[in-house]
Symmetry: C2
Subunit: 419 residues, 2 copies
């Protein structure tokens, strides 16, 4: 065992002890903890901003990109938003203790399936300090202890935030160790966390494809893959071009850096001659670079030739791959080959093709006549989101509070034995 | 990539293709496949028994234990039972296509959460050839393709069985590759299967603690841990001794080699002087060896002294560890420390302690006044069982058909975009 493994085990032991206490609490006290956390953040805003200022200074020195700096940056409004987020989570219904199902067996045994916390949750994430508060809040709501491992750029901010969160826990009589921050943001430390079997009930990585891949390769603990989205919109034969334009522009441009943004547009060949020049003008007016297949380029001459790699790329940027297809079947085959099973949309007027698309596309969220950008816990009405699962086990698509829970069976008898 | 990795990828490709076809089938055709499989087994019984005879001959030569030989052995009755099992699965309600929830958002989007197959399931298991048929049947029922990797002792039997199952698939127009058997039962082959990321949606190991541990350590694909059960019965102060004896005997002796059998008995000190000599006599009459703590041995002088290791051991045999505890708290602490979160029981007359035990024990199944032996898909009324999950993610406790499914969101709109 390396030194860092031994240290993380201590974190794991403390988290387990805290989880045992949390599992026995009522929702009333956990909600009080959330409100106390919110109060604490507002009261400590200046200390938090000071710590964030140190992170920002170092980040500028290291030459971080504008986008990265924006994600790292905190101001009073952002601290207020974090506090508001916690208060919102406190208002949500408590999933813990819910009876999912209850039935009586012929021998008189009464079996109840009851919702319980997962136990100890690990979170590995990147620059944004608000994830620290979000994750801690959602884990407290669901009775879980959490071990947080944020990005090195945000270490000072995260330290300041976690100090506040832990003090809030103590003030309401809950164990501070329900929220722990790993103070070593190195790679070795992350890998050791991924291998903390016996301590972590689940590890949730939130970040880019590289982080997810590292976790899949290295983790021995159960994990939930999140967030990689190579999403498509298919513009079907005979569809409403005005609706198609609205959806394509929204799916690509409204917030291009997120996982539910569109990366490839598929257009039926019957619509291509009219629709492609139209959408090209609208996209280019918004600064979108188009990379097209040969047939696309006959209608959008200024498009860059798309390579095989383009079909597989999650740009997360104002770049769009465009392909003309001969049929719904070709569109489905393209999505099956290059999609990441996140969010896929068809724009159509045809009932049968809409039904086929819904049924045959294998993805967390499949849309007819709506933007892929709706794949989001808040947009789905969950009131919270811990991430978007792109795997099929445990949780799929936007993960709300239920994704942070498990179940157990409580069985009451009168001396029954098995014959 | 090693040669075996390349070969398993081909299996993976074929399984994926078959899964795509299966995902589009209706339950009617999948049930027809199950009935055809049952018919095929009965028709090919002599070829299956001949293959099993070769496995048995080799197993005897290799000096396998009586218990192992019994698990490997097939006769006409056992083949009939496998066929009957498939017909039973065909009769179960179809979980695929079920709408789990459906709601309308304020913007008019209609969101449906629909049950879908997981896709491709890997199964690693040991000697019993009936698991081959069971697993194939449950996977077909739930629209999943399966890659099977049975034990080397059962290779000939499994080959004969899988040939029959694949022929049955073809006869009803389903892809034979929905059921594939890895023809290399070596360790390297098993490890390569555990790392078949991108092809397996889940890997389910069924076997002893060693197999499960190997999977946890090596798998890069999502896995469901199953089956390790260090289960306890706690005999509470003031309980009904007759009921306690009945439950203890059942939990230990009815089938000691299975994961839901009791391994440690905890007895409240107030009951120990009367209950321990009584239960010792009943256990010893059934050939059970008792390993006791020092206080146990004052009441059962013939008990072997229990070591620290005994508290952590899943004997799967007619051996029982016994400990006297001073309180429910001590019992809970012992279970939290040594239990494997499988099945735990209290025998009590006290309402408050029953409630505390149900709530505070962290296990898949927690019993009041019933035997731990009920943790089983059939006993729970699921009509099927693919294994017993001892993890908290995705499925916990006995896994029926639902554990072999995922969900997806189908979203219907009228041109909605995100503001």
């Amino acid at each position: 065992m390396t030194e860092i493994e031994a240290r993380w085990r201590e974190y794991g032991e403390r988290a387990r002890a805290a989880a045992t206490v949390l599992a026995r609490t009522d929702g009333v006290i956990r909600n009080a903890g959330l409100r106390e956390m919110a109060k604490g953040l507002l009261a400590a805003a200046s200390a938090i901003l000071e710590a964030n200022g140190r992170d920002m200074g170092a980040a500028r020195e290291h030459g971080l990109s504008r986008a990265m700096l924006d994600r790292l940056y905190l101001d009073e409004r952002r601290v207020e938003e974090m506090a508001k987020g916690l208060l919102g989570v406190a208002e949500l219904p408590d999933p813990i203790g819910q009876t999912v199902a209850r039935w009586r067996r012929p021998n008189g045994l009464e079996i109840a399936q009851v919702r319980v916390p997962l136990g100890v949750i690990g979170m590995i994430y990147e620059a944004r300090p608000n994830v620290t508060v979000d994750a801690a809040g959602l884990c407290l709501k669901t009775g879980n202890a959490v071990i947080l491992r944020g990005g090195s750029e945000a270490l000072e901010s995260n330290r300041a935030l976690v100090t506040v969160l832990r003090e809030a826990m103590t003030r309401v009589g809950l164990p501070a160790d329900a929220v722990q921050l790993l103070d070593d943001p190195g790679r070795e430390a992350a890998r050791a966390l991924m291998r903390l079997s016996g301590y972590l009930d689940v590890l949730i990585p939130r970040g880019g494809a590289g982080l997810i891949q590292t976790v899949v390769e290295n983790a021995t603990v159960p994990t939930i893959e999140t967030g990689v989205g190579n999403c498509h919109v298919y513009v079907d034969e005979g569809c409403d071009h005005e609706m198609a334009e609205r959806i394509v522009i929204n799916a690509k441009c409204q917030r291009p850096a997120v996982c539910n943004a569109m990366e490839t547009l598929l257009v039926h060949e019957a619509e291509a001659p009219i629709f492609l020049p139209r959408i090209a003008a609208a996209l280019q007016a918004r600064g979108v670079e188009i990379r097209g297949c040969p047939r696309t380029r006959t209608f959008i001459p200024q498009a860059v030739p798309a390579t095989e790699e383009d079909w597989a790329t999650e740009y997360l940027d104002l770049i769009l791959a465009v392909k003309v297809v001969a049929s719904l079947d070709e569109a489905l085959a393209h999505i099956a080959r290059y999609g990441t099973k996140h969010s896929e949309a068809i724009v159509t007027r045809d009932y049968t093709r809409a039904r086929r698309f819904l049924r045959e596309v294998d993805a967390a969220a499949v849309y007819v006549n709506a933007s892929t950008r709706f794949t989001d816990g808040f947009q789905f009405g969950f009131g919270a989101e811990i991430g978007i699962s792109t795997q099929k086990l445990h949780a799929r698509g936007p993960m709300g509070l239920e994704a942070l829970t498990s179940v157990k069976y409580e069985i009451c008898g009168d001396g029954q034995i098995r014959e």
